[in-house]
Symmetry: C2
Subunit: 474 residues, 2 copies
């Protein structure tokens, strides 16, 4: 193997909050691709399941859970100007952490906008308050307070949210190329949204099919997943959410708009983990996925909105269509039968994944001149293992953009709060590509009307295949 | 092991049509518990996957598929007075076969009312015509033509339909005992329906949770099941159907009544395999099952109807709530994503089942003085294997009632067409019990309102937990 690229000489301190599947998976990438010494890194994490990995790399590990009461005291001695706060935890508020990092002059990155413990499933809060939309509005507001040239805080830069927004830009360029459309070399929001509009993109799915299989089958009463069980549980119990396209003819009966903010997305009055949608990936073909809420459904829809005098005149519908690994499908099915009471046992499978599985993760852009275009990564667990230790296919698709985002933030240290869409997709994809396995763009003739109504009449819109009502599985 | 009971000296010929998981599983029971010689038995079956089992027992195997054109010619030389036609096939019309058997003076048994090939999924037929209700009405009509003292034709006598109707009677007696209710020693339809009414049974689920796991996990593009893949596919694609209780306040929006016949059941304008219901079993707790149509949903509801001047004044809602083995749940999920186009590969797991799985199959009677009572079999695959060769837990729960029905028919040879409810439940349970593993009756405080609306408001009926709208998962 050639000497690994060293993207940066990192001379400051790096604090990692949380050290689960993503923390453990990103550490080898950091050690390999930064000039950095173990002494510069400190892990804060309440559970010691990652301790052996930390020790393998000689990293300090402090067993502590951050809370609203202790986070300032815990982080203050560890963070100063130029240092980096990498938040890879669950149950620790992103807003609290990035605000504090900026206050200390430190850079920041996370992979999802996390509230403090229980925020996602606080039954006393109205559904609207439990949405990612609400979390994002609060984060953006806190970001505005920091100012535009504050230390860079990268929000939600994993695989999805994160990498997929860069995939979407690449996909737009590919479709432009293949339909003979001028790209206009889009640089900022206005350029990209205009390109999406001119291409006629009506729908963007984050279309994912994970075929990884554990060596021991899921047992009754056990939630099995290829990444954070807690993370998936929390987002699965949030209301389903989707960026709401301007081509949509009518709001679903259980759909609601928000009173304030970007208005780029709606939510449904039901958990995403019980809401299924039709989608398509090149390897899997037509599949049903779960409409799990994700920040990119809102941020990408918002970013691709064309406004005319404040009024949205173009926006695609954007949402996740997630077919997790089969064991997680079963876990969700069981969870639903339990009325969303978490199973007694949780199992996050990394080393315990059988050979052969693939996490096929990409964006599916629909409704343009070439119908549907999927662009993304088809990374197998076997290739992931060859590429980096302590990863499965799913985690590596997250950890390499985490790493790339960290590099980008260091290269662009005074950008204040940014979402993935505001970053340079070429730079990120350049850093990520060697770790993504086959990265392919494939056109498909699939639509959600494909083979419908063969046995039963359905309430569908034959005039426009790309209406959400056609996508949704009822 | 004690010398096995020989229930009968069987002196006639036995023709088995179809020799899949059920045929192969029942043969050892027949050889063990009947006085019979291999030469008396003939198998007719188009595929040779069961050939080795037939040869093991020295049974003649003719490779032939019965069709509307050839069945008379094929069967005529094999069937005469006192002979037995055991129909354990898919895609061979039950009505054609039992009518012909009766014509020849032969006895008959099947495990489901099967139409000729394609009948279940004939898209040119209206949903009402693809129901089990329609199949049953046709079968009953053909039965009436035979007359009441025709050779006995036992319709639908497997586990479910079949055994579960006997479980239901036993459960009614148990609940009567435990609530201090006079049973009135019910003998016929009037007695049993009156007992159910007096107990206040509103809902009967056939509540099944199969936890058997294959040694090799389900692969993408493969349908895996513990019994006939074709059989499950066909019934899963039929409209969901349920015996419709008199306590139900309103028809579901997608529910339809039939124009003629018993009026005991309704159907939904959607496949059962896409229709989920809440249920409960003692080992699994609260689970979601599929509302797959089954004959017992109709026949048991019909049997337990109390009429007053032709008008139904009491009837429980009766339906299947089937949580198949996890691999089959995944198969159904995948199939739904494929818009019900059958997967490329099918795998029926019998020998390939890992140790430890249990098929928990019983009836759940709800709404009476003790809330909910589950009565049924908790047979593990390990025990099934100890009890009989060529069976898993699921098949043994089917094959022993097939065998018991055969014995009962021979003991009662002039009863014309009978459904399980018209048979003697004590005799059947007596023959079956040694093969069912733990047979238990358990009360539960579960209702479908259990833990509802913790995160989202739902359209539910708080006044009567046992409304179907509360049971259904939307
Ligand atoms: N954007 C993406 O593509 C993507 C993908 C996967 C995961 N994620 C997110 O990344 C985060 C980590 O995922 P994971 O798979 O590593 O999860 P994980 O469950 O494996 O690990 C979570 C870690 O957080 C720690 N933690 C819990 N409470 C804490 C507290 N109070 N203070 C500090 N640490 C605490 C846990 O001990 C654990 O080490 C989650 O928020 C998840 O939603 C994002
Ligand atoms: N009542 C119950 O509890 C219950 C349970 C399981 C199965 N069943 C029913 O029993 C039947 C058999 O189930 P299985 O699991 O053995 O199914 P299987 O798929 O294993 O076997 C079906 C058999 O039918 C044969 N067959 C197909 N077409 C035929 C034709 N034209 N002529 C003759 N034979 C033909 C096949 O070759 C095969 O041997 C199915 O109808 C199924 O629905 C009922």
């Amino acid at each position: 193997m050639a000497e690994p690229t060293k993207y940066l000489a990192f001379t400051h301190r790096l604090v990692m909050v949380g050290f689960g599947s993503i923390g453990q998976g990103v550490l080898p990438l950091i050690m390999r691709h930064l000039e950095i010494r173990p002494e510069q890194i400190q892990i804060l994490c309440p559970d010691e399941s990652g301790l052996a990995v930390a020790e393998e790399y000689g990293i300090g590990f402090r067993r502590v859970a951050l809370t609203p009461d202790n986070y300032r005291a815990q982080l203050e001695p560890l963070l100063g100007p130029g240092d980096f706060l990498l938040n890879l935890s669950v149950d620790v508020s992103s807003v609290a952490l990035f605000s504090f990092a900026a206050e200390r002059g430190a850079l920041y990155l996370d992979t999802c906008i996390e509230p403090w413990l229980g925020g996602y499933t606080d039954a006393s809060a109205a559904p609207a308050e439990r949405t990612n939309y609400a979390l994002r509005e609060k984060a953006l507001e806190a970001g505005r307070k920091l100012g535009a040239d504050a230390p860079t805080c990268v929000l939600t830069h994993g695989a999805n949210p994160g990498l997929v927004s860069h995939f979407a830009k690449q996909a737009l360029l590919d479709i432009a190329r293949d339909t003979g459309t001028e790209t206009g070399n889009p640089a900022g929001q206005a350029g990209w949204s205009d390109l999406a509009r001119r291409l006629g993109v009506k729908v963007i799915h984050v279309a994912e099919r994970d075929t990884q299989v554990p060596t021991t089958p899921k047992r009754p009463g056990e939630f099995v997943n290829t990444w954070s069980v807690d993370g998936f549980y929390s987002e699965g119990c949030q209301p389903a959410e989707l960026g709401w396209g301007t081509h949509e003819k009518g709001l679903p009966a259980d759909g609601r708009r928000h009173d304030s903010g970007s208005d780029a997305a709606i939510y449904l009055l039901r958990p995403g983990a019980s809401t299924r949608v039709r989608t398509w990936t090149p390897l899997a073909g037509p599949i049903n996925g779960f409409l799990i809420t994700h920040n990119e459904s809102i941020s990408l829809a918002d970013y691709l909105t064309v406004r005319d005098g404040g009024k949205a005149v173009y926006r695609p519908t954007v949402h996740y269509a997630y077919h997790p690994c089969d064991s997680a499908v079963l876990s969700v099915h069981e969870l639903s039968g339990r009325q969303w009471q978490m199973q007694e046992a949780k199992r996050l499978i990394v080393d315990e994944v059988q050979p052969g599985g693939i996490d096929e993760l990409g964006v599916l852009l629909c409704g343009h001149g070439r119908n549907a275009y999927w662009y993304g990564s088809q990374l197998s667990v076997d290739e992931a293992r060859r590429l980096a230790p302590h990863n499965n296919a799913t985690s590596l698709q997250v950890t390499i953009p985490v790493f790339a985002g960290l590099v980008w933030a260091c290269e662009n240290p005074k950008r204040g709060l940014v979402e993935p869409e505001q970053m340079d997709h070429e730079r990120i994809l350049e850093i990520c590509r060697p770790y993504l396995g086959p990265v392919v763009g494939v056109y498909g003739d699939w639509t959600p009307l494909h083979r419908r109504e063969e046995l039963f009449a359905e309430d569908i819109d034959r005039d426009d295949p790309w209406q959400f009502k056609n996508i949704r599985v009822v």
